[in-house]
Every structure is written in C-alpha cells, then in structure tokens.
C-alpha cells in the first residue's frame, strides 16, 4: 500500500527533477542579455526555476504537515485492490502502445480489444473477434478512406493488400 505522504513526496521529487532538467538545458542557451534582448534560455530558465522552487515548497509543506501529524497523509493513495484494477487496465494499454508501433495501429486495435473482451470482460470468442474487427474496420474506412489520414501500419497490412 502506498500512502498519500509518499505519493506527494515522490511526485514533488519528480517535478523538482523536471524543473532542474529544464533549468540545466536553458543554461546552454544563455539566460542573460545580448544585442537582441533576453537570450533564448532566459524564459525557460525562469519557468523551470519556478517549477523547481514550487516543488520544494510542496516538499516542505508535506513534511510540515507530517510533523504536525495530519491524518490525511497516512491515507492510502493506492491500496492493493485498487492497484490491481489500475494495473489490469494499464498493462494491456501499454501493450497496445508497443504493438501499435511494431505491428501497426489496426492490428494492435484488434489484438487489444480481443484481449480486453475475451480475457478481462469474459465475452465469447465470436463476440470479441467481431467487435474488434468491426471497430478496426470502422476506423480504417473513416480515417483512410473518408478523411484520407493514414495511421501507423505494420508488416501485416501489405500482405492483405491494404
């Protein structure tokens, strides 16, 4: 179980790191003044600096509340049951993204929908396959034919002559 306290701290450290990366990146381009006005790095430098400072603020505030014994921070951010539900949705979603860039978006759509319906939703093979293929076909005709927009394709589409 993750408590709210650790979630707050972890997120604040992440945003702090983001701010520092932006600050470091901006320094390369100069944050001072040259003949054409403020140098290109100035604006992102201050934006990143604000992120870093405000993240420190959140860290300080969270530790302060912890010392003051605020009960809210001990609340569960994510317990086992909820975590499982999120992961059962997130992992197939990540798999869909990986499949999209390797096999193309249409194939990924079919595989993803079949998996979600057959193994997570408890539907039969026929219902799952039909829904998945119809959905992919709908996107194919709407995007490629009607709007003339191509999606990522993999090695399978040319075999089908699409």
């Amino acid at each position: 179980m993750i408590t709210r306290f650790w979630a707050e701290i972890g997120t604040a450290i992440l945003t702090l790191a983001f701010g520092l990366v932006i600050v470091k990146g901006s320094l390369e381009f100069g944050i001072g003044w040259d003949s054409s006005g403020p140098q290109p790095g100035a604006f992102p430098f201050y934006a990143g600096g604000l992120v870093a400072l405000a993240s420190l603020g959140t860290l300080a505030l969270t530790f302060g509340k912890r010392l003051a014994g605020k009960a809210m921070l001990a609340d569960a951010f994510l317990d086992a049951a909820r975590g499982r539900r999120v992961l059962s949705f997130l992992l197939p979603l990540v798999a869909f993204v990986v499949l999209s860039v390797t096999l193309g978006m249409y194939v990924a759509t079919i595989l993803y929908l079949v998996f979600a319906m057959r193994f997570q939703g408890g539907y039969g093979w026929i219902a799952s396959l039909a829904t998945a293929i119809l959905t992919a076909a709908f996107f194919y005709f709407a995007l490629e034919k009607f709007f003339q927009i191509g999606l990522l394709k993999g090695p399978l589409e040319p075999l089908l002559g699409l």
């Binding site: 945003t15 604006f43 539900r85 059962s88 978006m105 979600a116 997570q120 990522l152």
Partner: protein, 503 residues
Amino acid sequence: MDNIANLMHGFEVALTAHHILLMIAGVLLGVLVGVLPGLGAPNGVSLLLPLTFSMDPVSAIILLASLYWGALFGGSTTSILFNIPGEPSSVATTFDGHPMAKQGKATEALSFAFLSAGFGALCGVVLITLLSGWVANFALRFSSPEYFAVYFMTFASFIGLGGASPFKTVVSMGIGFSLATIGMDSVSGNVRLTFEYDVLLAGVSFLIAVIGLFGIGELLLTMEEGLKFEGVAAKVRIGDVLRTATKLPRYWLALARSSLIGIWMGITPGGPTAASFMSYAMAKRSSRDPDKFGKGEPEGVIAPETADHAAGSSAMLPMLALGIPGSATAAVMMGGLMIWGLNPGPTLFTDRPDFVWGLIASMYLGNIVAVVIVLATVPLFASILRIPFAIIGPVIVVICFIGAFTAANREFDIWLALIFGLVGYLFKKLDYPIAPLVLAMVIGDKAEDAFRQSMIFSQGSLSIFWSNALVGTLMAIGLVLLFMPLIGAGLRRLRGQGETRTV
C-alpha cells in the same frame, strides 16, 4: 448598433445548410464525448482538431464549438441518470439531479438541466455579442507589456482563486510553459531544450498533452474507482418538457444569479467547473430551505447547470477578443485557430469579421440545436452507457491514441500521450490542477514573445510593467489576484481583532 449589424452578417454566414449540418454533427459527437467517461470537451476538441485541418476555418470552428456545447449537455445527462459526471463541470449537477431521477422525476430533472443550461449559454452569448467588439477595440491599444500583464493576470488568478495548493498550481503552470519552449525558438531561430533528441525538434504539442492528461489519465482514474453504471431509465416526452418549462420562470432569481456567476468565472479563467460549484453553494446558502439541497431540489440542478454553460460560452469572449482562453477547452480551440493560421486577439475582429461573427451567430444557433438534440436523444445516449466498460474503456483508449497519432503523424506522440496519461493520473489523484498546464502550453510562446519584446523596449528593466496607467493597473490587479488567499486571511485576522476589541 454596429454589433447587431455584424451579428446579422454572422447569421448569414452561419445559416447555411452545410453549417447547420456541421452543428448537428458537432452536437451529436459532443453529447457522445460528454456521456463517455474519460472523454470530455477538451479531449473531444483535441481529437477532432486534426480532422479539421483541411476544412475552411469558419466551418471548422462551428463544428468544434458545437461539439463543446454538446459535451457540456452530455455531461449533465450522465450526472442525472447515472450519478456519474461525464464532465468535471457537471459534478455539482449530481448532488440534486440524481436524487430527483431516483424519485422518478428524471424527465423533470433533465428538462430543468437542459433548459436552464440553454438559458445560461444564451446569456453568455448575448454578453459576447454586446461586449466583444468593445473589448477588442480596447485591446487594440495593448502592446507587448500590456499583453504580458494580461497573461500574468490570467495565471495569477489561477494561483490565487484556483482553490488548489498554490505550489501545485505553479508547478503545473511552469511545466506547461517549459514544455511550450521545447523546439524552435521563434525569436532567435535557435533550437532549444531538445537535449539532442531529434523527436523533440518539432516541440511538444498541446493536443497530445490534452489527450494524455484528460483522456488516458481520466480513464485510469475511472478504472481505479471500479465504477458501475447503475442508471435510471428515462424517456423524455414533449408534454413533460413543456410542463417543466412553464415552471422554470419561478426560479428566475437562481437563473439570473447563476448566469452572472457563470459569466464572471468564464471571462476570468475560473472556468465552468469552479462556476458550477460556486453557483450551487450560493444557491444553497441563499435558500430559505438549505436542508432540501442534496435531496432532489430543482434549484440544485438549475443553479450549477446555468452557471456551467454561462461560463462555457463566455469563456469564448477573452479567447476571441484578447487571445486568452477562459477554459481548457477554449485553450484547445485557440490552439486550433493558430494552427489554421488565424491570430486570436483584437485584430481578428478587423481581419476576419466573417469568422468572428459567424462563430458568434453559430453559438446562438448551436445552443438551440443542442437543447433540441439532447432532449430528443436522451434514451439513445443513456443506452450507450449500458455497454459494459470492458468494451467501451478499451475503445476509448484506442480513440485517444489514434487521435494522438493523427495530430502530427508522429510515432513519438503515442509514447508521449502515454507519459502524459500517467502524469495526468498522478496529478489528478494529488489535486494538481491540470487546466493551467494546458493554458500555459497554448499561450506559452505568446507570453514569452510579449515578455521578450517588453524587455527589448525597456532595455531589460522590469519597470516597463509600471510605465503607464493601463499596464500598471493590469499588473496591480494581477498581484491582488495572486495574493488573494493571503489578503483574505489578513482581512479575517483584522476583523477578528476588531471583534475582540469591542467585546
């Protein structure tokens, strides 16, 4: 009256068969997007935007604006029937809307919601008609320092009035500004902050951020809640609608008050969500019978709905006249305007009057079309929610990623959408506001340009932001908004001391 003549010209633009069809299509898509959890107005507009790149800008904005109205209405349908807000701005509608539906008064609740929402939206549009020309004229006097001051005001009000932790608001805003600077710098021509990654050369698109933060993030949250749709069946009969309509004037005070709250929150970037909550709280506080709220009081439906839609439509005023969006959805639309090659702001009124007034006229028509369509299609859209989440959830995921890819045909954007999705989930769970991030991404470049030009005028002195009455006033308002929480606390302490002295 110049505005009326302009508006009539706008109606000529908007009242063509092609545009009416686009309105109907937009509203239907919008209701669909509003009904589905995980898809909201900002998302719907982001997903549809790439499909409008080849359209004429007037048609495109009519389609997107109608989708916005539809989404606002769709969000209330699910709030009332399923106790699940389809949109964050319709959360307050669940408090009394769902109890009404459970008492068998679903039709009455829906009619009240849609009719008062339509009323609120029309109030907002009337305001835009009357004021936009004037505001735009006023804004023509703005130069870079004034613009920067207005941007400052916008973000100051997020920090001061937003309700979230000020630190978290600053983090969200700063991330948005930082992301906006990635890629080509329009002033110096340098490529910035790509850290040697070629995929970052073209920058990070706000569309991907919206799709990830609002779409994927929201879906993960929905999954975590493990929600079940247990709806109340509803059939809407014309007779019931008319009977409810005759009861509506009784609530004139609530309607007027909520419209004002909505308009105010729409013009300042408080946005529809804050407006609906504030309006609900005001209605409850000023009611003779506050105990009835939460148990199915019609005023508890009317107040948030009117404010929600008044805010939604009046958020278009600062977007058109100043180039500052009043809500996340308006921010996405403004980004769209810039992609179509239009320059939102006062010059738009003189450069493209057909576009501006066509859009304003379409807001009148679009909202009327929306009220009729939502009333007619309640059973249809309610049945969509009966499709199990095991099917609809993954389909929404697919739509989001397809949308992310079509924004710029880049494989990298799919990964980016996934990252934004995880960030969105984390931020929502920890009460980081997301709208400032999106707004900062959209207006980041303009804010930076305004800042750099001001600095060039003044040779690097910040005193330029106090150099004349106009910019000084704007900056002062910004500072007051920024320190609003501190000022409020200080006043309370002063008053507290005063009381102890009298005792």
